[in-house]
């Protein structure tokens, strides 16, 4: 009896894996192919829906520093970009606004985090109007008062008002920008202020 139960438990685990495997991943394990566009052609009574492969964009030739490990080091942009460099940031985002994974883009960890933070700040500043998340059909969003913002570190919904600002030696400061971009080059000579 004890021997039987010892035999049954690992079998149960295997069965779980077998059952959960094909059912759960049958639609996720399709062969992944390149960027495609969907084209519908109607010929009489038959409609042909075809996914045509569009060309994947290639890295531009002759990077200034070919011995760099990540794209930013290769193009000498290490401490030189901010939230407003939308042309740079748009190369690392998905069509709906999310970031691409680091193993695909090839960025080093700190640069990936900096770009992620800049992308968040650019979304909050409204610099990616066409990369908004998809809303369900027939959904009309409530009209919210449109406030312009820039260099927002935290999400607007998560922040509470500062009712007690504190005394002169102990002020509660408001965060601006991000500490990840502390080492950015400043051409105007003024120091970067992270807390107003």
């Amino acid at each position: 009896m004890a021997a039987l139960s010892v035999l049954v438990y690992p079998c149960r685990r295997l069965l779980w894996g077998l059952l959960a495997g094909p059912i759960a991943t049958s639609w996720a394990r399709l062969p992944a192919r390149g960027f495609r566009e969907v084209v519908e052609i109607q010929e009489g009574k038959t409609t042909i829906v075809e996914g045509r492969l569009t060309g994947t964009p290639k890295e531009s030739p002759n990077p200034p520093n070919p011995s760099g490990q990540c794209p930013i080091c290769r193009w000498n942009l290490k401490h030189k970009y901010g939230y407003e460099d939308v042309l740079l940031l748009s190369q690392f985002i998905r069509p709906l606004g999310g970031m691409l994974p680091r193993r695909i883009t090839g960025l080093c960890l700190e640069e990936h985090r900096k770009i992620e933070e800049c992308v968040k700040m650019a979304h909050r500043a409204g610099l990616f109007p066409n990369h908004r998340p998809r809303l369900p059909e027939g959904f009309v969003p409530k009209s919210k008062p449109q406030l312009n913002r820039y260099l927002t570190r935290w999400s607007p919904r998560s922040v509470k008002p500062i009712y007690n600002k504190g005394h002169r030696w102990n002020k509660v400061r408001m965060a601006v920008g991000s500490p990840l971009l502390k080492d950015n080059v400043s051409y105007s000579g003024r120091p970067l202020v992270l807390y107003h």
């Binding site: 062969p31 992944a32 192919r33 390149g34 960027f35 495609r36 994947t56 964009p57 290639k58 890295e59 531009s60 990077p63 794209p71 930013i72 290769r74 193009w75 939230y83 407003e84 939308v86 042309l87 740079l88 748009s90 190369q91 998905r94 069509p95 691409l100 695909i104 883009t105 090839g106 500043a125 409204g126 610099l127 990616f128 109007p129 066409n130 990369h131 008062p145 406030l147 312009n148 913002r149 820039y150 260099l151 927002t152 570190r153 935290w154 607007p156 922040v159 509470k160 008002p161 500062i162 009712y163 600002k165 408001m174 965060a175 601006v176 920008g177 107003h196």
Partner: protein, 165 residues
């Protein structure tokens, strides 16, 4: 003595903190005839205050407080709520705090004219002399870049052939 006042226009699109240099025209330190007792400041007109931008999370965090004088009359309002009620108030309070804290401050505020949108009364619009430069460069959105600029920017990395976005 004839007053040499002139009207200067500031068009606000997306800036608040950097107004400091612009409204200096109210205090006429830029004129060689300046004297503390001579009343020779310029008027400054600011439009589009409704489209002002705050850095960081100040719309939610910054709190404007006031007291009516009566007990229980301490009111605290966030910047977003105040802007909703009165789109001109934030710029007015900001400039009031940046002016020198003397008795001239009230007269200088009388020479400052704020408008939430582009419509300005005719008599002010006729007398405008100079448009002051914008304090802050407004960043371009992704759809405001021309196709040539987008193509001129180099592509930094090439995705693998079989990657699906």
């Amino acid at each position: 003595m004839e007053s040499l006042a002139s009207l200067n226009l500031i068009r606000l699109e997306n800036q608040l903190q950097k107004l400091q240099n612009q409204f200096r025209k109210l205090i006429p330190l830029h004129k060689p005839i300046y004297h503390q007792l001579s009343d020779c400041g310029d008027h400054v007109v600011i439009m589009n205050t409704r489209h002002i931008a705050f850095s960081g999370n100040k719309w939610e965090q910054k709190v404007y407080s006031s007291h009516t004088g009566y007990p229980g009359g301490f009111k605290q309002v966030t910047a977003a709520q105040l802007h909703q009620k009165d789109p001109v108030a934030i710029v007015k309070l900001a400039i009031y705090g940046m002016l020198p804290k003397n008795l001239h401050r009230r007269t200088l505020m009388q020479r400052l004219h704020l408008f939430p949108d582009e419509d300005i009364p005719e008599d002010i619009r006729k007398n405008l002399v100079e448009e002051l430069p914008q304090p802050r460069k407004v960043p371009k959105r992704l759809d405001e870049y021309t196709q040539e600029e987008i193509e001129a920017f180099p592509r930094l990395w090439s995705p693998p052939e079989d990657y699906r976005l």
